[in-house]
């Protein structure tokens, strides 16, 4: 396209991107730097002017804090448990939705409803369903003879499991719809060829579908890991990290430390460590990915 490059035209990108960049700078970049600084101070949420410089003390005390280690372990369980189960359930959902039946578009639309539901609302529904005295899931599980008597799911040492169940419900549909789109992109001729060669459904799935949708699996899983690692609405609302500290994850501990115990410096130090650990984990994941796949399907 031949176009006279005048001054106005050259300024256009800045004009168009300007507002967005300004917001990003003010609301993301500046607070990010500010957070790194805050993590070196002892500061209360209520009296930011009385901040006291303590250097690396916040970090040093964390590494000795058993509660911090507990929260890291819980976070690992939270991420692995949630994402692996979301993936499994999501894959089953995708295979179901991939069949041809009347009303499939509607069912696919309904499938995303949990994903579009507020975390607090998910927490509310599941807290009620998991209630120790009147929870409907207790009743169903007893009737199916899976458990002998009602369990106070969110008041037990294993309460994180109850929260993971809610998270699986909320997150599996996202996987299902993403995987479904990828599955539908696999050329049908491949299945026909395999069928002629005598491959059964199971082999077709493992030898054709899975390898061909691997890029989507990898990238969707990565997005889910980032999201789940940082996600704290469910734990905050369903258990508040309890009973005791049984279900406390790293971002929840960081939030409670800063917001309820008002120790902002220490809470922010935890958040910084969380971001660093996530970055290391993701770069390992990306390395692994690049080793396996030749090609630039990422971004």
């Amino acid at each position: 396209m031949v176009r006279p490059v005048n001054k106005k035209e050259r300024q256009l990108p800045f004009l168009l991107l300007g507002p967005a960049l300004l917001l990003m700078a003010l609301i993301v970049a500046y607070p990010l730097l500010q957070a790194l600084r805050l993590s070196l101070f002892q500061v209360s949420l209520l009296k930011p002017d009385a901040a006291q410089f303590v250097g690396m003390d916040n970090y040093r005390s964390l590494l000795k804090d058993p509660l911090f280690l507990r929260s890291v372990l819980n976070s690992v369980m939270w991420i692995l448990g949630s994402v692996s189960l979301q993936f499994t359930v999501g894959m089953l959902g995708a295979l179901i939705l991939n069949k041809d039946f009347p009303g499939r578009g509607l069912v696919r639309g309904l499938s995303l409803i949990p994903w579009a539901t507020s975390g607090v609302l998910v927490a509310l529904m599941w807290t009620w369903m998991l209630d120790g005295n009147y929870g409907v899931l207790n009743d169903i599980l007893v009737k199916l003879n899976i458990i002998g008597q009602y369990q106070p799911w969110l008041a037990m040492p294993t309460s994180l499991g109850g929260v993971i169940a809610a998270n699986v419900w909320q997150g599996a549909p996202f996987f299902a719809v993403m995987l479904l789109a990828a599955i539908q992109g696999v050329p049908l001729e491949l299945y026909e060829a395999a069928y002629i060669d005598g491959a059964n459904k199971f082999n077709q799935f493992w030898r054709i579908t899975v390898p061909l949708i691997m890029p989507t699996i990898m990238i969707t899983t990565m997005l889910r890991i980032i999201w789940t690692a940082n996600y704290m609405d469910l734990v905050l609302v369903m258990t508040g990290g309890g009973p005791g500290q049984a279900s406390i994850t790293l971002p929840v501990l960081a939030y409670i430390t800063a917001y309820e115990r008002l120790r902002v410096g220490q809470g922010t130090a935890m958040a910084v460590l969380q971001a660093l650990m996530l970055m290391v984990a993701l770069s390992l994941y990306l390395k692994l990915l690049q080793g396996k796949e030749e090609g630039g399907f990422i971004i």
Partner: protein
């Protein structure tokens, strides 16, 4: 009789409809149970064994919720915050996406990457420095603070979504319009915007969902009912009305309803937008 055909038909039903029904139950059961609970008379919520269906349906919980609690206020706050966020993100993301899609400038790739990188940072890392910033600006405990935060954090994904939609429209169309003497603005408004309408709908739906549901910033930046949105309101209710599940579930239904209705209207575009990027990569 052709019994093998009949058996095949039954088998087809079994392997198709049972999984579909199981999947639908999994998806809809929590919502269904919340809806039923909200319509039960209070004493029928706490029975042993559990009574699945109410003897009479009642809207008492809804009446109490709307008349005796701050729920209507939370609802109004949520609407205001969502509307403000839609406006800001809508305009900013559209112009940024147009820029990424249609204008070549130095460092474009880097800027785009920067946009997406902001999605990586956990809310808990930014929320307290933002708290101090909002405090300095004197907008703590206002809906404006939430509009600013929600706009910023929904911008990158919306921009990415829209850029994809704009990129899918052939550049030749713009060029033809420009040769015909249209200005950039006219080209955008009369050529690109109508073609990218599904993308705009998808983007704005995402913004609606994000802002309506957002919890951590809303919880931290608000202190009383003057700015609290629905998620924060529900959260405080869960502390205050611990044994009033009739009220809580009524609030849940009313919170979920707008999202579900809105979502069902436009889900086709959203699914298209979400999956296009992930699959093409």
């Amino acid at each position: 009789m052709n019994s093998p055909a009949l058996i095949r038909k039954w088998k087809g039903c079994l392997f198709l409809w049972i999984p579909v029904l199981l999947w639908l139950t999994f998806i809809l059961f929590p919502y269904g149970w919340m809806l039923i609970t909200s319509l039960k008379p209070p004493h029928e919520l706490y029975t042993s064994p559990i009574k699945y269906l109410p003897s009479v349906y009642t809207f008492e919980g809804y009446r109490l919720l709307l008349e005796t609690t701050d729920f209507p206020r939370f609802f109004a706050n949520s609407l205001v915050v969502v509307a403000g966020t839609l406006l800001i993100t809508g305009v900013f993301a559209t112009s940024a996406a147009y820029c990424f899609s249609r204008i070549n400038f130095r460092g474009k790739g880097k800027f785009f990457g920067l946009f997406l990188a902001t999605q990586m940072f956990p809310a808990v890392l930014l929320v307290f420095s933002l708290f101090f910033i909002m405090r300095k600006l004197g907008i703590l405990n206002t809906r404006l603070a939430l509009i600013i935060a929600h706009s910023t954090f929904s911008l990158p994904f919306t921009t990415w979504l829209l850029t994809g939609f704009f990129n899918a429209i052939p550049r030749e169309l713009d060029e033809a319009a420009i040769i015909d003497g249209a200005s950039r603005w006219q080209t955008f408004w009369h050529v690109l915007a109508p073609l990218a309408a599904p993308g705009l709908i998808a983007g704005l739906t995402y913004v609606f969902i994000y802002s309506w549901n957002e919890f951590v910033y809303a919880l931290t930046f608000t202190a009383d009912i003057s700015a609290r949105t629905l998620p924060v309101g529900l959260h405080t209710f869960m502390g205050e009305y611990i044994i009033r599940w009739d009220l809580l579930t009524a609030g849940g239904v009313l919170t979920g309803l707008p999202i579900v209705v809105f979502f069902m209207l436009v889900q086709r575009y959203l699914v298209q937008g979400l999956t296009a990027g992930a699959v093409k990569g």
